[in-house]
Symmetry: C2
Subunit: 428 residues, 2 copies
């Protein structure tokens, strides 16, 4: 068998008829695929049948490097860093091809010595998960940790590191749990793991630390401003979305502008009306950390049967966010007419909210008659709120409230900048 | 009652404590809302309780203008214009506040005399619908009309006018029905109705006519390139998405570049490898106009129960496209683990495909182990294909095929530019 002397972790060269690929061998699969990690951090799978030759360029090093000397100063300001998993707190285990979690300050220091120049970093590790496996219970676990940090007068600010894929759901959850925090709460991530030359982790963490020490007491998502490695943006936690599978500047502000631009040397505030740093020993109400899990997010598509709403009603679901058309329409005629079904489930107590699948822009049920009829049937139109943020807000509101009118009032109220009331012509 | 002398169609001035609004009165609702159409084309609803005064500025004109003189030249090239509804083929009926459809060449000429300079426009009107009410049967009705135009040697090209909201589904459907057409098939739209000063209809139609007369025999979506009124882009029918509720340049190329840029004076081709105009009397196979409606599009969200797949299986659904994370993950641990349910429905014959909810970028199941496990469980990873395009392709493929391996092969094959094989570092 070609490359039988190559082991996981070795630097190899794979030759096919079309190309030559150099990288770290991760694994040879039964299925006949050889998986190689390229120097840009990506994995590539090559079919054995296409491989002409495999050469070992360099055997894996057996001894691990000693960890760098690590000590907290006990003089610098303290940042609590809550690690929850994701690429940013992982490094490649070349032997298994899997990831190893970084969980101690010493391990962190090895990869990111620069942030320790700014602050004493206190690492807290409630759990380690990929973000697709997180749910509302995890958001509440993070919130409880954040609450401790906000109430600890020795702590200057909080950073939460997190997987990218569903990070914007967590940033929305923290935004609704802490609408007016007394300190900065910064969520950050990386798209490439820490041990890669192209990793975005170091700059994201450094800029996050700068924001965590700043005067901006908001829930923010901090990450690359563009594809180069020179600046980050701080984005509103309720108005941000992952918009690219792999780019380092994957998080984009939606219907909003960044709060600040951050470079290694300075913070440029772009929005003056942020919540300012408050009393260090303020108390936060844990009773707010509630969530109704019997809710759904439904993306409407052409020809879709409205039976999906009856299905969720039959499962005891209390609410649903429907991603409708740009202004807020679904089918309102023919055999799949949604109007009578929406009327029915609303009468039975279900909360039906509308968000836009266009992502950018604002719903407006008044422009055409279907919108007016749907609103009359009971649909709550969530203006320019992202559907992902709307899902989180609905769970939070239903967790707390039972009364239909009160629920509607809260859904439409601007609690954590989820609505951009100044959304003007520049967005149209 | 304030403004009791104002009737629908009158130009009125509404005074509240905060502002003064001028526009055409559309309707006064029982709910106490006065609905006014502003000069920018938008409707605004004002609560009666906030209204201090309503003044009639100008009564509605009673006589309608005579239609302009209209005659086809019978010398210019012929473009078949298939009208299917939407804002582009509507004008405001000021008396009812509703829309009137434009369905005859004469009415079209009244609003868009310029396109008649380029060609003799033959208006075909199979039906009139808002796009949210269209389904696969409508896509097939449009395809049958397009087929007639493609087979008519007197016709130079085809334009389909259409509502914006689900236009990208229809453009994907026509792309799969006509992977190699012999003439240009152009879909176009407007975001503001034809009778508005800010309407985008005229430029979109003019540029569509120019593309319909060109050498580019592709299914294209033509519309505003930016928010000014000077140029359009022609976008690949399978790689385009409505990205804003109201902007005129709402359609954006996704994981691709425009085919051409079009101004009133010229067409600038941006991609050389397009399908060229072919034989005028080529025959197209109506057997291809099939669609399996027992399919669903599901956007995954954190904490979601995989029971949704079992639900669709119990309804006899044959396939589902899941909008997963950026690389293609869903929950793979704990009580809501999707892996066993995916295995189960795949074993029972359901086709499970993955697209990315990040919209931009490309799935890659090989990077992390959950992706590898999901692929092993039978998920078909649709690389950089849009979820909306994937839904349409799945319906088209299942309408035609029964064999699982053949279905997978066709789903992964690049039939109508739905995959961008050159998606390179500039997108990463």
């Amino acid at each position: 068998m070609k490359g039988k002397d190559a082991n996981a972790g070795d630097l190899i060269k794979v030759k096919t008829a079309k190309e030559e690929i150099e990288g770290i061998l991760i694994e040879s699969y039964e299925s006949g695929v050889v998986l190689v990690k390229l120097s840009n951090g990506y994995n590539i799978g090559v079919s054995r049948e296409n491989i002409l030759d495999i050469k070992v360029v360099k055997k894996a090093e057996k001894s691990e490097k000693k960890e760098a000397e690590f000590k907290l100063s006990h003089k610098k300001p303290i940042i609590d860093l809550i690690m929850t998993g994701g690429t940013i707190s992982s490094s490649l285990d070349v032997k298994t091809g899997g990831v190893k979690w970084l969980t101690s300050p010493a391990e962190l220091f090895k990869f990111y010595p620069e942030i320790f120049e700014l602050a004493d970093i206190c690492v807290i590790n409630p759990f380690m998960k990929s973000s697709e496996n997180m749910d509302s219970e995890d958001w509440i676990r993070i919130a409880k940790q954040v609450k401790k940090s906000l109430e600890d007068e020795n702590v200057k600010g909080v950073i939460v590191t997190h997987g990218t894929d569903f990070l914007h759901y967590s940033s929305a959850a923290l935004s609704f749990f802490f609408p007016k925090p007394n300190k900065p709460i910064v969520l950050t991530y990386s798209q490439r793991s820490s041990d890669r030359g192209s990793s975005d982790a170091e700059l994201n963490l450094y800029c996050s630390a700068k924001m965590a020490l700043s005067d901006v007491a908001e829930v923010m998502l901090v990450g690359h401003a563009n594809s180069s490695d020179d600046s980050c943006v701080a984005l509103i936690g309720t108005k941000v979305r992952k918009m690219h599978s792999s780019r380092r500047d994957t998080f984009k502000p939606i219907n909003s502008s960044p709060i600040a631009k951050i470079t290694r040397s300075e913070i440029e505030i772009l929005q003056g009306d942020y919540n300012k740093r408050g009393k260090a020993n303020e108390k936060f109400d844990s009773d707010n950390f509630v969530f109704e899990n019997k809710i759904a997010l439904v993306k409407f598509y052409p020809g879709q049967s409205p039976e999906i709403l009856e299905h969720y009603l039959s499962l005891g679901y209390r609410g649903v966010v429907i991603e409708m058309s740009g202004l807020g329409h679904v089918i309102t005629e023919g055999t799949n007419n949604w109007l009578p079904i929406i009327k029915k489930v609303v009468e039975k107590g279900m909360i039906v909210c509308a968000a836009a699948q266009t992502i950018y822009g604002r719903l407006d049920p008044l422009v055409y008659s279907p919108g007016r009829e749907l609103e009359k049937a009971g649909v709550i139109y969530l203006k320019d709120m992202l559907s992902e943020t709307a899902f989180v807000k609905l769970g939070r509101v239903l967790g707390k409230l039972k009364d239909k009118d009160e629920i509607k009032k809260f859904m439409l109220e601007n609690i954590s900048k989820e609505y951009n009331d100044r959304l003007g012509n520049e967005f149209i």
